[in-house]
């Protein structure tokens, strides 16, 4: 029982981090970035290459992953999203194609065998009957720190408030002197960095392989859709629902069924309550 609660809490923290970067883009640009999962994959592979192949320190690996992620995010905004000028369907389909291209690129550079990351922080901690690896504990703590930091950034800084303004009303923000293009660019950069860092932790929790981007994309989608767009609290709650559902189905039912309930949740909520459980966004 304590095993389920502790594992569930830790996994949910990781899932919240995965979803945060995706929510950011969706609430500001109203664009579904289907290549979001590719940030996670790029982050994981960059970290792997610099720390495990080149032997650089871990903190440098994480920072480099963030830099790569944000550069790719900015390029994606400049080259794809801006070129297509807000045609949502076209953006979704091109990001889907881009994700497949990035997957092929990863196979090209690193070949398609799975790779195991060394734990970022090795060691195990036993409390009660539960065993907790320091690795997932670090991931959960780091993701809480990042989420709180992001929340404060969006609330308290000038750029953060400009981001909120653009997400509410682009024209209104432009009239008040905010440059929506610049804000969008910054948001895509931040989202890419968040995705890449989440990818390092996600990869150390599972493993690296060229098709690892699908599962986190679906988790991010589920959290954003079910939580309701623009609701940070909603996203956090849903990240916990999904995290606990996975842990419960893995430990009590069957490990193969771990994703089934997530899919059923997406389908059920979108069909019955299209605005999400906690959402306020009009469709």
């Amino acid at each position: 029982m304590s095993q389920i609660i502790i594992q569930g809490l830790l996994l949910s923290g990781l899932y919240a981090l995965i979803a945060v970067g995706f929510t950011l883009i969706f609430s500001i640009g109203r664009v579904l970035n289907l290549a979001y999962g590719a940030y996670l994959m790029i982050g994981g592979y960059v970290y792997y290459h610099f720390t495990q192949v080149l032997g650089m320190p871990q903190i440098a690996g994480i920072l480099l992953a963030a830099v790569f992620g944000s550069v790719i995010g900015i390029l994606k905004y400049r080259l794809i999203v801006k070129t297509l000028k807000g045609d949502h369907v076209a953006v979704e389909i091109s990001t889907l194609i881009l994700a497949v291209v990035i997957q092929a690129g990863i196979v090209l550079i690193f070949n398609d065998s799975s790779k195991i990351l060394h734990p970022i922080v090795p060691g195990v901690w036993r409390i009660g009957g539960a065993t907790v690896t320091f690795n997932i504990l670090t991931a959960a703590l780091a993701s809480w720190a990042i989420i709180i930091g992001l929340y404060l950034f969006v609330r308290n800084t000038h750029i953060g408030r400009a981001m909120q303004a653009v997400s509410m009303d682009v024209k209104g923000a432009a009239i008040s002197g905010v440059d929506p293009d610049r804000i969008n660019l910054i948001t895509w950069g931040i989202s890419g960095a968040l995705g890449a860092v989440a990818g390092v932790f996600f990869a150390s929790y599972t493993q690296l392989n060229p098709s690892m981007w699908v599962a986190p994309l679906i988790i991010a989608v589920a959290v954003v859709i079910v939580g309701g767009i623009g609701s940070i609290i909603g996203s956090l709650i849903v990240a916990h629902i999904i995290g606990f559902m996975e842990i419960i189905s893995t430990t009590l039912i069957a490990a193969e069924l771990r994703g089934v309930f997530t899919m059923l949740l997406i389908i059920g909520v979108l069909v019955l309550r299209p605005r999400g459980l906690f959402g306020r966004e009009e469709l």
């Binding site: 949502h88 979704e92 679906i218 193969e256 389908i267 069909v271």
Partner: protein, 318 residues
Amino acid sequence: MGIRWQHIALWLAFIVFMLALPELVSKGTLRTIIFANFLAIFAISWDVLSGRTGYISFGHPFLVGIGAYTSAILSYRFGFPIAASIPLAVIATMIGGTLFFLPALRIRGSYFALVTLAFMELMYQLVQVIRPDLTGGTRGMSGIETITRGAVNNYYLSFSLMIIIALAMWLVMKTRLGTALSAIGMNEESVRGSGLDTTKLKLAAFMIAAFIAGLGGAFYVHYLGSIAPRALFDINFLFTIIVAALIGGASTIIGPMIGAFFLTFLLEYLRPVLPGAERYFIYGGIALILYMYQPKGIYEVAKQGWSRLRAARAGAGP
């Protein structure tokens, strides 16, 4: 109806050319064309649903997969003859299509795309876990009965299937139903405002799409003789279907066919130049650039080029 004799002449010329093809090309090329034919069927099915009505489906492999799995299980595990298992598979796919249709009653756009993606992933996971004794689990099934043998026979079979579906869809889209479906893609509210029952129209589009997907999936599995979950319920398969329809030209009939042949031959002709993993990278890159350059597809590019040519000729004339 707006059918002119040029249309019929073009279709006939195309059919005659394709029927003569086995005399002209090698067996290997024929096998490539067989894949292109099946891809064209799936892309036409996607286009009926998504290209016309604007309900973008990211879960089309779900429908194709139901058709393929139903027919495979019926014939391989229960010894049904193919003549019975394929119609039953089509019926099963249409039932699956109604399931697919439920979310379209309330949501559209990106949200609909996501639900259908969830359907596909759900199916992928369920197929491996529920009754692996029937579905073959992760490894799938092999040694499924095939309809005919040899490249030439299979070529004729797949081409006939594709051309019948394409012609039937071409005729259906010329009727008022086709016009109404395209109108839904432009503005659903005004279609409803003009007194048409959009729910019924959408249901018709979903049923036609499911029918084609099921038929294509069932024939495909009896061509391959094997089936595996990762080959079907996969984002790469989805990518190929959608990109074939879009690169060729959505909401046309000839477009998805052009797209399917273009993609299949692109991948095939890259093989001698780039034997390794680079191939998929270049292939995806070309698809991305083509789509970004003209989201309406090759058909539109050709049409614009043609009218520009005619304008230039008319301008140069006396």
